[in-house]
């Protein structure tokens, strides 16, 4: 219920496919988009990723489209900014305001276009990985890339406790709202501050509890877990 991406990652038809293969596919898509000299290649990668997500993983098209629009504001302002120039050499459109004559340059416009499709292609490639691969598998993938043990251990803990703390946060938000905590802007700032402080204190308590509980199961230095079982895959 909390994160759309996480929900689908655990409930799509490609979930149990090898994370290594999915990772390689996403990486190829990312690289090809970044190196693509024309919008045609990056545009095709967007479509291909979308097809894999919708027809391969059986994730509704509406979900994919909604997610693609998440970075939309950044993309739009970013591309417009690239196209605009304070004094274009090869203006496509230009206005004169006093001594200034800002406008859109032809080169800038072309660059913005390539940039737009490149970002879409790369974003869609990343979506392919994260929508089809549960985070536990992503963490396993990170550990297979020889990341230091402490990194995967922290990832494991952070991922788990994001949900624990998120649940607490939502409960407190609801309780604060029902006592008018967000009735005005000034109230909101104060309530949010109280919430964050409380959450921090609870986080400290949680980490203490967790240490005791894991010690009781023999924790000494390392958080060891089994890699996931996966049938008939020569590249796990």
């Amino acid at each position: 219920m909390l994160f759309t991406i996480d929900q689908w990652a655990w409930a799509n038809r490609l979930r149990d496919k090898s994370p290594t293969w999915k990772g390689i596919a996403a990486l190829l898509g990312l690289l090809a988009s970044l190196l693509s000299p024309t919008p045609w290649l990056s545009g095709s990668i967007t479509l291909l990723s979308g097809a894999l997500i919708v027809f391969g993983a059986r994730i509704p098209l509406s979900v994919f489209l909604r997610l693609m629009s998440v970075p939309g504001l950044f993309l739009l302002t970013g591309c417009v900014t690239v196209a605009l120039s304070p004094s274009p050499l090869d203006p496509v459109a230009q206005v004169t305001i006093g001594p200034y004559s800002p406008g859109i340059s032809a080169a800038g416009l072309q660059q913005a276009g390539i940039l737009f499709f490149r970002s879409l292609g790369a974003t869609a490639s990343l979506y392919f990985l994260v929508l089809t691969t549960p985070m536990v598998d992503v963490i396993e993938l990170v550990s297979r890339l020889r990341a230091p043990k402490i990194v995967t251990e922290l990832m494991l803990l952070i991922y788990r406790f994001i949900f624990v703390l998120m649940e607490t946060t939502q409960a407190i938000l609801l309780a604060q709202e029902s006592r008018l905590g967000y009735a005005t802007q000034a109230n909101s700032l104060r309530s949010l501050g109280i919430l964050a402080a409380n959450l921090f204190v609870r986080s400290l308590i949680r980490s203490r509890e967790l240490y005791i509980a894991l010690s009781a199961r023999g924790y000494e230095e390392e958080l060891r877990v089994l890699p996931r079982t996966r049938e008939n895959s020569f590249l796990r």
Binding site: F3, I5, D6, L30, L31, L34, L35, L67, V70, P71, F74, G78, T81, V82, L84, S85, P86, S87, P88, L89, Q111, L115, S119, L120, G121, A122, T123, L126, V130, P148, I150, V151, E153, L154, I158, Y159, R160, F161, I162, V164, L165, T169, Q185, L189, R190, L192, G193, L195, A196, A197, N198, L199, V201, S203, R206, S207, R208, L210, L214, E221
Partner: protein, 207 residues
């Protein structure tokens, strides 16, 4: 301000990753040393990382009425120190890319540089400076969080400008372009973040 997936050219993405790497490696070494002598620190860091993710998912009531999310950069830097914050920040940024599609994998290095390195170090520096100048803790914390935020945005602006120099006026012209688009919207947010961080610290001092 997360730079989205695919927005930076490969060469820039690689360069920023290389620039961030030594800080992350240094932070990791420090953490590994702490954990070896104190195994409980691992749980503390894990839960602290989750806390900073959750904090960044909250909506910040901003002065302008548009809402954004607190970065928690200043808070984390003052509570845990900037070295540790770099590592936690890097992992939190990775999770933001993977769970929320804020930022990306290829732009992770650039985002870590602005939000996990420049932000926390600027915030921590300002906080220490404020302490040395005997400023009230409220003012030090406000300044640390607000300036940490602004430093992050300035860094992002420079990163974008370097990647996309203006055809006529070059990098400088591009800094002006991106700066005026982002900074104007980010200044009120930096102020809001500063205020929120003060409120959090005051609430914390009551425990």
């Amino acid at each position: 301000m997360h730079i989205m997936e695919g927005y930076l050219p490969l060469s820039h993405a690689a360069a920023w990753t290389a620039a961030s790497a030594p800080f992350v490696v240094h932070g990791l070494r420090a953490i590994q040393k702490t954990v070896r002598t104190n195994p409980e620190a691992k749980m503390l860091l894990g839960v602290a990382g989750a806390f900073s993710f959750v904090l960044s998912a909250l909506k910040l009531p901003s002065v302008t009425g548009s809402s954004s999310h607190p970065t928690g950069t200043g808070l984390g830097a003052v509570l845990f120190g900037p070295t540790v914050m770099t590592v936690l920040g890097a992992i939190v940024l990775l999770f933001q890319a993977l769970l929320l599609a804020h930022g990306g994998i290829t732009t992770l290095g650039a985002n870590v540089f602005s939000m996990g390195i420049v932000g926390p170090f600027a915030a921590y520096g300002v906080y220490r400076l404020g302490q040395r100048m005997n400023l009230s803790s409220n003012i030090s914390i406000f300044a640390a969080a607000a300036i940490g935020d602004l430093a992050t945005y300035v860094t992002t602006t420079v990163q974008l400008a370097l990647a996309f120099p203006d055809t006529a006026t070059g990098v400088v012209g591009s800094i002006v372009k991106f700066g005026s688009v982002f900074l104007v919207t980010q200044i009120p947010l930096a102020l809001a973040e500063g205020l929120l961080t003060v409120v959090i610290f005051n609430a914390l001092s009551k425990y």
